[in-house]
């Protein structure tokens, strides 16, 4: 099972659900397509820009690594991965 974890500010995109388990294996883009199917347009609109890129203020981590340092939306997602969606507030 892939575990998708959303920080509470981001969880508005999933009707308040902060931990979601999904049977999945593929790429990050594929995972988000699946989640969009489940949670509809609100998820898509809150997480993505119109051009399909991730929103500037949303950071995505795959097993703790920032997806920007991996292959972005093409990053492979193994079947037991943990994917975190967190607001971009680092440092301070």
């Amino acid at each position: 099972m892939v575990r998708l974890v959303l920080a509470s500010p981001i969880a508005v995109a999933t009707r308040g659900e902060r931990e979601i388990e999904i049977e999945f294996e593929g790429t990050l883009r594929g995972l988000f397509d699946l989640v969009t199917n489940r949670y509809g347009k609100p998820f898509q609109q809150r997480i993505f820009e119109g051009d399909g890129a991730l929103k500037r203020f949303v950071n995505v981590y795959v097993n703790g690594e920032d997806a920007r340092y991996l292959r972005g939306l093409d990053t492979p997602i193994p079947r037991d991965a943990t994917v975190d969606l967190l607001p971009a507030i680092a440092g301070g």
């Binding site: 500010p9 508005v12 920032d66 440092g91 301070g92």
Partner: protein, 412 residues
């Protein structure tokens, strides 16, 4: 009684009441506190300021704390603004001032933002506080938590300077030493605070936390006889300090107190310069650094949360960004110590190094009045000197041995 109007998103402009909100609910962008400035204007008077207590609460109208009893009184702020004539001579600058925040209660400027964040945590009755820290914030949060009788959890890279991991524990905080970089510590701190309902000062209390830092600008303005300098050199980690200074300037301007902004010059180490690289790139976005490599550990934030805002602030004030290397930074520390008797950690050396470089290439003019923000004490970072100063071999307590050690009598 408060003058707070609410929170406003810096990215999309959405407005919210001043509640416990970490980011904008619609775009997840950064929030800033807004004030009823017309009301502030009636009580924020130069003549009255002089009579006020000598700590950061003297600017209370522009700080978002509603309940005075929620404040933790550690006497934060009102640090010296030192005229640095010898440093000016060394760097060929007519007028340099050193804003010396090494003398705050826990020896860095972080006591300022923490004072505000912890007051909010008490107003909201949060069960515990904490932070993700590159070192200084850990001490500041832990000290304020001790005085507030709140449990405190500090997330920091396990590889940090030993002193910086020790100090928060003396204050009674729980240190969680994270295997990895600051950005790893920040990510897991965010998840932990979120799951447990804790108030992490630089994460979910961030809009309020940010407010404390702008008191550095207010103090500088007051100490210069209600004038702003031409240039302020600011160390950059997440970029929040510089962003907050610019906000403080905008507030003074809206109050009619000042007209032109100081040029805000941001500086970080070449070994971790995501904001400087972003400043130099056309899109103005920070360029994240995966593995920071620098002696300036307190600035080593690879993915700076307020980097974009800091870049905008530097551009808006006609400042610039610079990234000296580690040897230049340590030279800067030594120069400040030897010219002015102020011992800073590498973050402060970074500002000195940038001023030197900017004089060499003319980006700062000799006649500009320059303030260096010296944001942390050198006593927390002795390890950076390991290679520069060899261990001392004991000298027998007799004159012959001392003479031999000193190489003969010194004349004059």
């Amino acid at each position: 009684m408060g003058y707070v109007r609410g929170l406003r998103c810096r990215a999309c402009g959405a407005e919210f009441p001043a509640v416990q909100l970490a980011v904008c609910e619609s775009c997840f962008g950064p929030l800033e506190v807004t004030y009823e400035l017309s009301a502030v204007r009636d009580s924020f008077r130069r003549a009255d300021l002089a009579e006020r207590p000598r700590d950061l609460w003297r600017y209370r109208e522009l700080l978002p704390v509603l309940d005075e009893s929620a404040r933790v009184d550690l006497a934060v702020g009102c640090t010296p603004l030192r005229r640095a004539a010898d440093l000016g001579e060394a760097l060929d600058v007519r007028e340099i001032w050193v804003k010396d925040d090494t003398v705050n209660p826990t020896y860095s400027f972080k006591d300022r933002p923490v004072a505000v964040a912890v007051a909010k945590a008490r107003e909201w009755d949060l069960p515990a506080i904490g932070c993700a820290s590159t070192g200084n914030l850990a001490a500041a949060t832990a000290a304020a938590a001790a005085k507030a009788h709140l449990p405190c959890y500090v997330f920091a890279p396990a590889s940090l300077e030993p002193a910086k991991l020790l100090v928060p524990r003396i204050f009674g905080a729980t240190v969680v030493p994270i295997e990895g970089t600051y950005d790893d510590a920040n990510r897991i701190a965010l998840l932990t605070a979120d799951r447990r309902g804790w108030g992490f000062v630089n994460i979910n209390l961030r809009p309020y936390y940010a407010e404390g830092s702008k008191t550095l600008l207010f103090e500088t303005w007051e100490q210069l006889g209600f004038e702003l300098p031409d240039v302020i050199v600011v160390p950059l980690g997440s970029g929040l300090l510089l962003t907050s200074l610019e906000k403080g300037f905008r507030e003074l301007r809206e109050l009619g107190e000042v007209a032109d902004p100081p040029r805000l010059v941001g500086t970080q180490a070449a070994g971790c310069a995501p904001i400087v690289q972003g400043f130099e790139s056309p899109d103005g976005r920070p360029k994240p650094v995966r593995r920071p490599e620098t002696v300036a550990e307190s600035l080593a934030i690879g993915d700076p949360g307020s980097g974009f805002e800091a870049i905008q602030a530097m551009r808006a004030t006609r400042g610039f960004a610079d990234a000296p290397n580690d040897p230049d930074i340590l030279d800067g520390v030594r120069l400040l110590a030897r010219a002015e008797g102020v011992f800073t950690e590498p973050a402060g050396g970074t500002t000195v190094a940038t001023l030197r470089r900017a004089r060499e290439d003319g980006r700062i003019d000799r006649d500009e009045r320059v303030v260096l923000l010296i944001t942390g004490s050198g006593l927390k970072t002795p390890a950076v000197w390991r290679d520069a100063f060899q261990p001392l071999a004991p000298v027998p307590p007799n004159s012959a041995a001392v003479d031999a050690y000193l190489g003969g009598l010194h004349h004059g």
